[in-house]
């Protein structure tokens, strides 16, 4: 579908769907956590990731890095020449529509959102059929709910936090966890350990690194730190022995097996749901 059509179609949703700012924060954190784990996958082992933490320069750098590494992510070579006129026209329309709907969507408050949308379009031009366009989900969320994300790091606070501005009237500010540093620290402790480490150990290491006694929320830890790193095969777990850094072919096989098991579980669940629907269809005289 043409970018322009996607835009006009999805724009109908803007501001109509009600979502809470907590949900929006979750979406944005999920986006960053996947962005970071994919970047770390490509950066390691050549580059040191010790000093990575969420600041504006790093956030922009990682976004740009990942788009520049699209060929590695897709394991293919795009021959597309970017059509900047098309990208600019689409982002311009996006901006115009957003300003109509949210008068407080100024150049300053909207630029991060527009940039996300632009990255989505760029990736789509490079790989139109890709199912792994990282920016797609966050773009859909923005279009569906009308949330406009703006990353503002006025002052680096504790290493845990940055501020997420959500420009849905009225303008809201939410504290954002520093998932960049936490993924980096998690990799660091696992890389330095010869044996698998339990969650509790990693969590207390994170707290220590962040100069706090308070442990990071376990559910968030699983969602934003462990899962994204597992998904890209940087860490793995086996038989509840804890997590370990994937160092060799054997480790990777374990990680792969685990993902396969999870996939099979999902397939089974979906198949069960389909069976139930078929049963319901049968009762209604419809063959599904």
């Amino acid at each position: 579908m043409e970018d322009r059509n996607i835009l006009s179609e999805n724009m109908q949703y803007l501001a109509t769907h009600s979502a809470t700012s907590e949900e929006a924060k979750t979406q944005f954190l999920l986006f960053i956590s996947e962005l970071v784990s994919q970047c770390f996958l490509l950066l390691l082992p050549k580059n040191s990731i010790d000093h990575y933490q969420l600041d504006e320069d790093t956030y922009w750098a990682l976004n740009q890095f990942l788009i520049e590494q699209a060929d590695s992510l897709e394991d293919a070579k795009s021959t597309t020449e970017i059509d900047w006129d098309r990208i600019e026209e689409s982002t311009h329309q996006f901006h115009k529509r957003a300003v109509e709907l949210f008068p407080n969507c100024t150049e300053k408050s909207c630029h991060a959102t527009i940039d996300l949308y632009e990255k989505y379009l760029l990736y789509k031009q490079l790989y139109p059929d890709s199912r792994t366009n990282l920016w797609e989900q966050i773009k859909n969320y923005i279009l569906r709910t009308g949330f406009i994300f703006n990353l503002e790091i006025v002052q680096p606070q504790t290493p845990y936090q940055a501020t997420l501005g959500l420009s849905k009237l009225p303008n809201e500010l939410l504290m954002l966890d520093d998932v960049i540093a936490m993924q980096a620290y998690t990799l660091q402790i696992l890389q330095n350990s010869d044996s698998p480490l339990p969650k509790a150990k990693i969590l207390s290491f994170l707290a220590q690194k962040n100069n706090t006694d308070k442990l990071y929320d376990i559910n968030k830890f699983k969602k934003y730190i462990i899962k994204p790193l597992q998904q890209v095969g940087l860490i793995a777990t086996e038989n509840f022995k804890g997590y370990f850094f994937v160092r060799n072919a054997n480790d990777l096989k374990i990680a792969h097996q685990k993902q396969e098991e999870e996939l099979n579980l999902q397939i089974e669940k979906a198949q069960k749901k389909l069976r139930l629907l078929k049963l319901r269809g049968k009762a209604m005289g419809v063959a599904l």
């Binding site: 020449e81 970017i82 900047w84």
Partner: protein
């Protein structure tokens, strides 16, 4: 609509009272200048002798080692006109060829500091909106049509993995100074001043 305009604003503000600008380019034998050089030394390595500059004063402390000769903005280079024969720009971010207005600001200054037949060499990724290699010629021609006394010709090359042959063993970086940047295109803009 400038995605990184806040970045350039930040840089602008942080640069007041930067290095004493007048003493920046004293050696008149040095006719090359790199802009937005960051912590790199591309110009000194591949186009010596060359002055390295960047707008971000904080780099003087952050880069280890720091090879910068001058803290200045690409749009405001503290030197007399016709001072240089080559201007180098690698991975521009926060300045460059994003909007027509930015392009004009930058080119006005580069036309001023370059001598006739001088060249601007730009390196970057095709997804970099401050470069936009596929649109650069159009942008330059549009700028040219608004100016008098200057002709500009542009050659854009898709380096297609030739970067290692052209500039071997060199690492480019994003604006955070630690994340690698990938160069895919090179543009060479040659300018000719018709009335000197």
């Amino acid at each position: 609509m400038s995605a990184l305009s806040s970045l350039s604003n930040k840089i602008l503000k942080s640069n007041i009272e930067a290095m004493p600008a007048t003493s920046c380019f004293e050696d008149t034998d040095i006719k090359h200048i790199e802009l937005g050089a960051g912590c790199g030394n591309f110009g000194k390595q591949f186009f010596p002798p060359c002055y390295l500059t960047d707008a971000n004063k904080a780099l003087l402390e952050q880069c280890q080692p720091c090879s910068l000769d001058c803290i200045c903005e690409a749009q405001n280079i503290p030197c007399e006109k016709n001072r240089f024969s080559k201007v180098l720009i690698c991975n521009p971010f926060g300045y460059g060829f994003y909007t027509a207005e930015q392009t004009k600001q930058l080119l006005d200054e580069l036309v001023r500091v370059l001598e006739s037949e001088g060249k601007i060499i730009v390196l970057g990724n095709q997804t970099n909106k401050y470069f936009k290699p596929s649109k650069l010629e159009k942008q330059i021609k549009s700028y040219e049509s608004q100016t008098q006394d200057t002709e500009l010709s542009v050659e854009v090359e898709d380096l297609n993995d030739k970067i290692e042959q052209l500039y071997p063993n060199y690492s480019f970086f994003q604006c955070d100074g630690k994340t690698p940047a990938k160069v895919t295109h090179q543009a060479i803009i040659t300018l000719r001043k018709t009335s000197l």
